[in-house]
């Protein structure tokens, strides 16, 4: 039937190895990626693997799980997980709950740049400076307490630094802009024609949010939550400077730091870092797995 099909025409002269590699995408241009890849392997993958193995070689001797056993039997150590989560989860939820309605409002603004520039300030300045600023501003003699007292809302200064609330405030100041800008980029990425279509079909603003935006944005929100959460979970300088690093804000990164640089026990420090990474991973996986329940696909309409 297919006697005329010239399927075997090119068998006489097969392609060279170079041509076959090029067809796979390997040529001189591809090699440009090699230096960066080697760098990343040497300074990111290798240290991680090294730390992972080192965490099973306790400095003080004992069996290979000794570091982990010590961590989970010493309340001074294992309670850091709960303390960190107790900070990170409420802060992340608050930031996200604030960011979503604000992003929907700011999306309508013609001149977003002034606001986004202002919000980028605390991210750029970093946690150390925010901690120093809040120490003064939220202190008993600071402008914040002073204003509340002048307004007659409180009779004596609130204690807002060197405790849980100081760290909480610093995580909102640096975390909210991050969450917000991420949310804004997702919200503005959705084709407004979808909302207009919803409106012509009789959906009111709540229904448009609930049945059009929310399903499309849910993956973005899940990613935003994850990124914001891991940032908050790794809180370090402000927990030391603004919190009570021996008490309620002794977060897990402080435990890791102390093991490494006060006890010089790199093995234990690596174990704590692995536990820190594992908890972050567990929360992220849990959130992203529940993402499977939501719509996944292009959010920009039928362009793909």
């Amino acid at each position: 039937m297919d006697a005329f099909a010239p399927a075997t025409a090119a068998t006489a002269h097969g392609p060279s190895l170079r041509q076959r590699l090029a067809a796979q995408g390997f040529d001189a241009v591809t090699l440009l990626v090699v230096p960066a890849a080697i760098f990343s392997l040497a300074l990111f993958v290798y240290p991680f693997a090294f730390g992972f193995i080192l965490s099973f070689e306790p400095k003080a001797g004992g069996d290979w799980l000794a570091n982990y056993k010590r961590f989970f039997s010493d309340p001074f150590l294992y309670e850091t997980i709960a303390k960190t989560l107790w900070l990170a989860i409420p802060v992340t939820l608050l930031n996200l709950l604030l960011a979503v309605p604000i992003a929907f409002r700011v999306r309508l603004l013609r001149h977003q740049r002034l606001l986004t520039t202002t919000l980028v300030l605390p991210i750029t300045l970093g946690t150390v400076l925010v901690a120093e600023g809040l120490l003064n501003y939220l202190g008993p003699q600071g402008w914040f307490n002073r204003t509340l007292m002048t307004l007659g809302l409180i009779s004596e200064p609130l204690k807002l630094v060197h405790n849980y609330w100081g760290v909480f405030a610093s995580l909102v100041i640096t975390g909210f802009p991050f969450t917000f800008l991420l949310t804004l980029s997702y919200v503005t990425g959705i084709d407004p024609a979808l909302e207009q279509a919803g409106a012509t079909l009789g959906a009111n603003s709540w229904q448009r949010f609930r049945y059009i935006y929310l399903p499309l944005l849910m993956p973005g929100f899940a990613i935003t939550f994850c990124l914001s959460f891991v940032q908050a979970f790794s809180v370090f300088p402000s927990a030391v400077l603004l919190g009570a690093p021996a008490g309620p804000t002794r977060v897990i990164s402080i435990a890791a730091y102390q093991a490494a640089f006060e006890e010089y026990d790199y093995s234990m420090a690596s174990a704590v870092a692995m536990i820190m990474g594992f908890v972050q991973l567990a929360i992220v996986v849990a959130v992203l797995a529940s993402r499977g329940l939501f719509y996944r696909g292009p959010a920009s309409g039928a362009k793909g």
Binding site: F26, G51, R146
Partner: protein, 280 residues
């Protein structure tokens, strides 16, 4: 865009703007507190300081050896910007222009250092750097800072390179440009805005990068932000105003570069690395 004009919608909008205003007000007041304090002679129990002075800047400069610290900071930042530029742009070009098996894995490898917080990978990284003797040195600090900045440049540059039509490169070839001429006459001029934006953001991020520098820096290789941390940590040893003067110096060095960077990028890009959207 659809705007509701019902009373409920207006109240809702007002509430949202109130929250935004409250946040921005507190943010600016916090910064103003630091600036005010740095110029205060004495500031205890009053709205404003008793008097104004600039002498804290002199004392901070000498007490904290800010001259040396700033020099180290700019050397570290300069090295990080240059190296991450070279490594990042070349890798981004390969990733933008070629499809090869394992590319997704490689992109993930470059994505991870940006997603994982520095303190998490910083501890094992510092351990390795201490073992090799690099920690505490200038190059140890540079190496640690490169871990997130190289991937950052890669991920900023990939979409930028992708939006340049490969046919333009093909045209340059057809009209007689060899690889070197193609790079000088076509690619470099077209990529320059993107490279500039990426490197300015790297610059700002490296000045403000606390965790990695803190974990690997020694006394002679610490940057301004780490010096500031130690000063705040040891509060009580020095006058608050002196620390605040240092904080202001830190703020100025960061914000100068931020302002320059914002001439080339949208503020949202500092967080999302998304493609720039046309303003509507």
């Amino acid at each position: 865009m659809i705007r509701d004009t019902t009373l409920g919608a207006k109240l809702w909008a007002a509430a949202i703007w109130a929250v935004v205003a409250f946040f921005v007000l507190n943010l600016l007041a916090m910064i103003a507190t630091v600036v005010t304090s740095s110029f205060a002679t004495r500031w205890l129990g009053t709205w404003l300081p008793a008097g104004w002075t600039t002498r804290w800047y002199d004392s901070a400069w000498s007490e904290f050896q800010l001259g040396d610290v700033l020099l180290v900071t700019f050397q570290v930042v300069g090295a990080v910007v240059l190296i991450s530029g070279v490594l990042g742009v070349t890798a981004a070009y390969a990733l933008a222009r070629r499809d090869f098996p394992g590319k997704k894995l490689l992109v993930l490898l470059f994505l991870l250092p940006l997603l994982i917080p520095p303190i998490t990978f910083g501890i094992p990284l510092a351990t390795v750097l201490y073992q090799t003797g690099l920690a505490g040195t200038f190059w140890g600090v540079v190496a640690a800072n490169l871990v997130p900045t190289v991937p950052f440049v890669i991920l900023v540059m990939i979409p930028f390179i992708e939006q340049i039509d490969p046919k333009i490169e093909a045209a340059a070839r057809v009209f007689g440009a060899n690889t070197f001429k193609l790079f000088i006459h076509v690619l470099l001029p077209l990529l320059l805005p993107g490279i500039l934006a990426a490197l300015l953001l790297v610059l700002v991020r490296t000045i403000a990068m606390f965790e990695l520098t803190f974990l690997v820096a020694g006394p002679t290789s610490q940057t301004l932000v780490v010096a500031l941390y130690y000063a705040v940590f040891a509060a009580g040893v020095r006058a608050v105003q002196s620390i605040d003067a240092m904080a202001v110096i830190y703020m100025v060095t960061t914000l100068v570069w931020l302002v320059i960077a914002l001439r080339f990028v949208n503020p949202t890009q500092i967080v999302t690395r998304a493609k720039q959207q046309p303003a509507h």
